[in-house]
């Protein structure tokens, strides 16, 4: 390529001429800017920086110049090549970014499509409730004790001050096993676990005993031959009903929320003396007027029955080898199913035992 003659003095045109170098540079920069994808940029790169490109040719001719001209030409060609390479790099980055942006747009999916390739599992809410209650007490330093479901009559009754002729034995509609003279029952409460705990370790004892228990109740919306109970037992020095009340107040608040405390009413259980029934502040109306008078949950009482409790009868301590002169204790028992139904607004006990997967799945893996 030749530059225009600016005068009538003819000049020899060489690749190293200033004009030629500038032209080559400009042409390269224009071509780089014009390349609109990485493929065309590659062609531009070959044409303007390749071995046969004007600037490469010019570069090769520098060596042939006389020394005084070599310096000027070298600087001129070097600057031009630098500018072109810089422009190439910049354009490459630009085009790569554009390419990636386009690809990301093209690869977009409908993220609202379902992603449930494996159906959701779930643990049974009663298992979760039992564990949750366990955690509440473990947090206080208690331990969780367990025992067999098919239990010795002595542990289920006699050791708990329920002698063979105790009227309360008929209150507990017991499943007996055959043969009768083997004295084996399905435990009617988790109290034998309390007895076992006292039989095998020394006070201080702070345990809760959650588990399955059995009564010969026909199966309906509020009764079941098998249900779940949690009992608590404390045996220590200086334990009183006040500690029982404090523990149950804390338990109730932790389980059902702030403001849900307890009330005691005199009652009777062979294994405790004094005995009490424990009521909860109704968590629907909270006993507040005017909601309480129309409350269906507590039938206008402001309280709902929760369980039984009391001071451990010294006769029980004696049968289990605890010195009742030194130690006192308290015990309590609640239905886990019932507590669950309160806490989660469940209405039919049968849902707990029918194994409909929709029920357990609703609760996931934690309560």
């Amino acid at each position: 390529m030749s530059g225009p003659n600016t005068d009538y003095d003819p000049v020899e045109v060489t690749p190293l001429g200033a004009e030629q170098v500038d032209e080559a540079r400009e042409a390269a920069l224009v071509a780089i800017a014009a390349a609109d994808d990485l493929d065309s940029l590659k062609v531009v790169r070959t044409a303007h920086t390749g071995d046969r490109s004007p600037l490469a040719l010019a570069n090769r001719e520098i060596g042939a110049l006389p020394p005084q001209a070599r310096k000027d030409a070298g600087r001129r060609v070097g600057q031009a090549r630098g500018a072109v390479n810089q422009a190439l790099a910049a354009r490459t980055t630009e085009l790569e970014a554009a390419h990636e942006a386009r690809a990301l747009v093209e690869e977009a999916v409908d993220v609202t499509l379902p992603a449930d390739r494996v159906a959701r599992g779930g643990r049974h809410p009663i298992t979760l409730m039992s564990e949750h209650i366990g955690d509440l007490f473990v947090a206080m330093g208690w331990e969780v004790a367990e025992g067999p479901v098919v239990e010795a009559e002595w542990l289920n009754f006699d050791a708990l001050n329920l002698g063979p002729d105790h009227p309360a034995r008929t209150m507990q509609d017991t499943f007996w096993t055959e043969p009768a003279d083997h004295h084996v029952v399905l435990r009617t409460h988790t109290s034998p676990v309390q007895a076992r705990t006292m039989l095998t370790r020394e006070p201080p004892i702070y345990v809760i005993c959650p588990g399955r228990v059995f009564r010969t109740d026909e199966y309906d919306a509020t009764h079941s031959p098998m249900f779940h109970q949690v009992e608590g037992l404390v045996v220590d020095r200086g334990i009183s009903m006040a500690h029982l009340k404090g523990t149950l107040d804390h338990f109730a608040t932790q389980l059902f929320g702030e403001g849900i405390t307890t009330r005691f009413r005199p009652s009777y259980f062979p294994f405790t003396e004094p005995s009490a029934e424990v009521d909860l502040v109704c968590f629907v109306c909270r006993g507040d007027e005017p909601a309480v008078s129309s409350c269906r949950t507590c039938k206008g009482e402001g309280w709902i029955e929760w369980g039984g409790c009391g001071v451990v009868n010294p006769r029980v301590l004696t049968a289990c080898g605890v010195d009742s002169e030194v130690f006192t204790g308290f015990a309590f028992g609640m239905g886990i199913d019932r507590s669950f139904m309160f806490r989660h607004g469940a209405e039919d006990l049968r849902d707990i035992f029918e194994g409909d997967v929709r029920y357990s799945a609703a609760f996931g893996t934690e309560l």
Binding site: M140, V150, E151, Y206, P266, S267, Y268, G355, D356
Partner: protein
């Protein structure tokens, strides 16, 4: 116990403004638990009056019925003074009888509005009422299938009938705990009502505090042979009773309100006195007695027909009442037929006896008799009121039944006296944590009827005779606490020593549950009962150990009378139930104990006076059945769903194995599988899973016949494992691995083997042959088909080799691979392809 409030008030002077709600609330706070408040007249409004039947014309109808067209004098209640014309379908009345008439404008229970209406060709202006129509027990005023006929003189025509029938009454029904038998009487309820309002002693009117004639020898002779069983026996005789005399209205009303049937005046009187005093009374037809009355224990082989018509074989510790004719009653529980009071009885021997509570309980339970008398006698009645109660019966029979008191008052025996209880003065405060000082404790004990004497640091307390339940110091603490008020117990958190948290077993069980739920399984809880049919449906062979069940003596269902030895029936039934409710893809699991009898013999019954020895405790456990924790998993339908991503995957036998492996995995365990044949699984698709050589259970596809018999889809899969075994083997502390950062060398080998050779055996051979350089081995393909030929299959394994101290050379890796293949070839006949 149903206590009409007016009757309570008869025995205690309650302030007039005390409401029934408040009374019930305060008595509940004292331990007499409110069950319900009944207001029987609540649903009866408008004119309800006494009427006198002036005429009753029977008119046979086409439908076969006969109605009575009655003219009834209702005084001025109808506004005219003219007789009221009423059609009545009942026939248990006649002219001049007093009846209860509801007039137009009134409303009866069930929103039944009364209006004059045309019926059977007459305009019937109102209704002659039966007890049931008024919302009262059907048999409370005579015949259950007729109208109420009031005793002559009960009222005047036109008089409001509400009061006569107790429709203006309020009744508190209490749920009385076994320790408060005294409250099974108006006497006891009134006493606690006085306590509830802190009334002076003079406000309580004890129905048993009465002048009684002294005992003499002139009465009916009584011989008690068993003074322990029957410490007191009082007998009085009343003759000249009119058996047809109506029960006075007040008595019939109160009995009805208390929920008792009106039978005859003599029977009603005994029931009335029982409710009033708490003392059960038995009346004999004195003319049917022969000779002296005696009390003894029954002898072997003796029988008695009780008044309910049941012939009862007696046991030697049943207490019986006898006369010269033989046994005439089960003492304190139920009378005999031969001396029962009847419609012709005019002479009554009144028995007011105190019976041993334990004996009453045993006899009642043995003969399955529950009665109002038995309920009181087995819980304990005040032994000091036998004479007073008998005298009260005599008084009522002479007043209302036309009887005459015969001379003679027989009293045999003496009321036992409870020994004093010594109680530390501060015990109540210590045990309850309440603010109750020593003087207050004594005051409250006196308030409930105890005699309290001061000692050094202790109180000596004699409980009142109506409180046989008070025997221990802690019983007295409860009395103090209930008087102070349970609502004053402070709330104090105890401070336990540092705890050890959940046991390892508890933590691991949670881990197992979470892992299964995380893998898409849903937990269920089933009842642990099963029956033979369940085991048959599982196809268990006759000698299968799971057929050795622990049977229940009193199962709820005859179909499932035994404790489960396997959780499969319950879980599979749950699968079927879910399918029935529309589910198609299921993965469910249950963890629960099974009951495996081990022939342990009887569990001992120890005493309760001291702790059994460790050996004795161990003997208790040894006699119980084994109760291992099992895990059952069952799956049907798709394990992975179909969707926009492509087709789903149907659960197969390997998913059941995988579920167990998931559990094992979170316990740090690697399970070994081997082919097994065990019901209820498909004989060719059942894996026994082991830890080393210890079996943990089985997994695989269910037998097609089992699926059919249980109504399950074909190819339902399941696993049952002993979770206790898995938990026992769980890795406790994982030792941290040493990781090599030298490069891995991968070698794949394809081995041709007979298709009877288990893949696990080939893998095992390769592993052993490969030596220490082998990092891992995995079966990644199984090929059968023409290329390998019939009876053969090709197993492709990926082997990874790595050394801890150097980069392996090709020669080293190749040599290890060849060594592995060589062992597989030698042991399994494998040929490298």
């Amino acid at each position: 116990m149903k206590a009409p409030v007016s009757w309570i008030r008869e025995h205690v002077d309650l302030p007039a403004d005390v409401t029934t709600d408040d009374l019930a609330r305060r008595l509940t706070a004292l331990g007499l638990k409110l069950e319900a408040i009944e207001r029987p007249g609540e649903q009866v409004t408008g004119p309800l009056v006494v009427g006198r039947v002036l005429s009753a014309e029977p008119e046979p109808q086409k439908n076969g019925k006969t109605i009575n067209w009655c003219a009834v004098d209702v005084g001025d209640a109808n506004g005219t003074g003219e007789p009221q014309g009423i059609v009545c379908g009942a026939h248990n009345f006649g002219v001049d009888d007093l009846v209860v008439v509801v007039l137009p404008g009134a409303v009866l229970p069930g929103d039944f509005a009364i209006a004059a209406r045309k019926t059977y060709g007459h305009v019937s202006a109102g209704m002659i009422c039966s007890a049931a129509e008024l919302g009262l027990p059907a048999d409370s005023y005579g015949s259950a299938d007729g109208i109420v006929v009031l005793p002559a003189g009960a009222g005047e025509p036109g008089q409001d009938a509400r009061g006569l029938l107790g429709l203006d009454e309020e009744v508190i029904e209490f749920e009385i705990n076994p320790d408060r038998a005294y409250a099974l009487s108006l006497r006891g309820v009134a006493r606690d009502a006085a306590l509830a309002y802190d009334l002076p002693a003079s406000a309580f009117h004890d129905p048993c505090l009465r002048e009684v004639p002294p005992a003499d020898d002139a009465g009916h002779p009584v011989r008690v042979e068993d003074e322990v069983g029957c410490p007191v026996f009082v007998a009085r005789t009343v003759s000249g009773i009119d058996p047809a005399a109506p029960t006075p209205t007040f008595m019939a009303r109160r009995l009805a309100l208390a929920g008792m049937r009106s039978v005859s005046v003599a029977v009603d009187v005994t029931n009335y006195v029982m409710l009033e005093t708490g003392r059960p009374i038995h009346g004999y037809d004195a003319d049917r007695l022969t000779g002296a009355v005696g009390v003894r224990r029954a002898r072997d082989g003796e029988r008695l027909t009780t008044l309910d018509g049941t012939v009862r074989a007696l046991a030697t510790d049943d207490l019986v009442v006898v006369d010269d004719s033989g046994i005439i009653g089960l003492g304190g529980v139920m009378g005999g037929q031969t001396t029962e009071m009847s419609a012709t009885t005019t002479r009554v021997l009144v028995e007011s006896a105190h019976w041993d509570a334990t004996s009453m309980f045993r006899t009642g339970r043995r003969h399955k008799i529950t009665s109002e008398a038995g309920k009181r006698n087995e819980r304990g009645v005040d032994p000091t009121i036998c004479e007073a109660a008998a005298d009260r019966v005599v008084e009522l029979l002479t007043t209302y039944a036309g009887g005459t008191t015969e001379p003679g008052v027989t009293v045999v025996g003496k009321a036992p006296q409870a020994p004093p209880i010594t109680i530390a003065r501060d015990l109540a405060a210590r045990v309850t944590g309440m603010d109750v000082d020593e003087t207050t404790a004594a005051t409250h004990l006196r308030a409930v009827g105890c005699e309290v004497a001061d000692g050094a640091g202790v109180l000596s307390v004699v409980p009142p005779p109506w409180r046989p339940d008070l025997s221990d110091p802690y019983d007295l603490v409860e009395e103090v606490a209930r008087v102070v008020g349970y609502d004053t117990v402070p709330s104090v958190l105890p401070t336990p020593p540092a705890g050890r948290g959940l046991t390892r077993g508890q933590q691991l069980r949670r881990r197992v549950g979470r892992a299964l739920a995380g893998a898409g399984h849903v937990e269920v809880i089933t009842f642990p009962f099963l029956g033979e049919a369940d085991l048959d449906k599982l196809g268990l062979p006759a000698d299968d150990e799971r057929r050795a069940v622990l049977r229940l003596a009193n199962p709820l269902s005859a179909e499932r009378p035994a404790m489960a030895t396997t959780l499969l029936p319950g879980v599979l039934e749950t699968v079927a139930r879910n399918l029935g409710r529309g589910a198609t893809d299921l993965a469910i699991f249950e963890t629960g104990t099974v009951t495996l009898p081990r022939g342990g013999g009887p569990t001992p019954i120890h005493g309760v006076a001291h702790r059994p020895t460790p050996d004795e405790v161990a003997a208790l456990d040894a006699a119980l059945p084994d109760q291992p924790l099992h895990l059952v998993v069952a799956m049907t339908g798709r394990r992975e769903r179909e969707g926009w991503w492509g087709p789903g995957r149907v659960a197969d036998w390997s998913d059941a194995v995988a579920s167990v492996r998931t559990v094992a995995g979170v316990l740090g365990l690697e399970l070994v599988a081997r082919a097994a044949q065990r019901a209820p699984w498909h004989p060719g698709r059942c894996a026994e899973l082991l830890i080393g050589s210890t079996s943990v259970g089985h997994a695989g596809e269910l037998h097609p016949r089992v699926c059919r018999d249980l109504g399950l889809p074909a190819r339902t899969v399941a696993a049952e494992v002993d979770l206790d075994v898995l938990l026992a083997h769980a890795v406790d502390v994982v030792v941290a691995p040493v990781l090599s950062d030298f490069p891995v060398a991968k070698e794949d080998v394809a081995l041709l083997v007979d298709d009877t050779v288990p893949a696990a055996d080939v893998a095992d051979a390769l592993r052993r042959g490969a030596g220490d350089l082998l990092e891992s081995l995995r079966l990644f393909d199984v090929y059968t088909g023409e290329q390998v030929g019939a009876g053969k299959r090709s197993l492709a394994f990926a082997l990874r080799f790595r050394a801890g101290d150097r980069t392996l050379t090709e020669q080293e890796t190749g040599a290890a691979r060849d060594a592995a293949v060589a062992v597989a070839a030698a042991e399994c006949g494998a040929v490298q392809r």
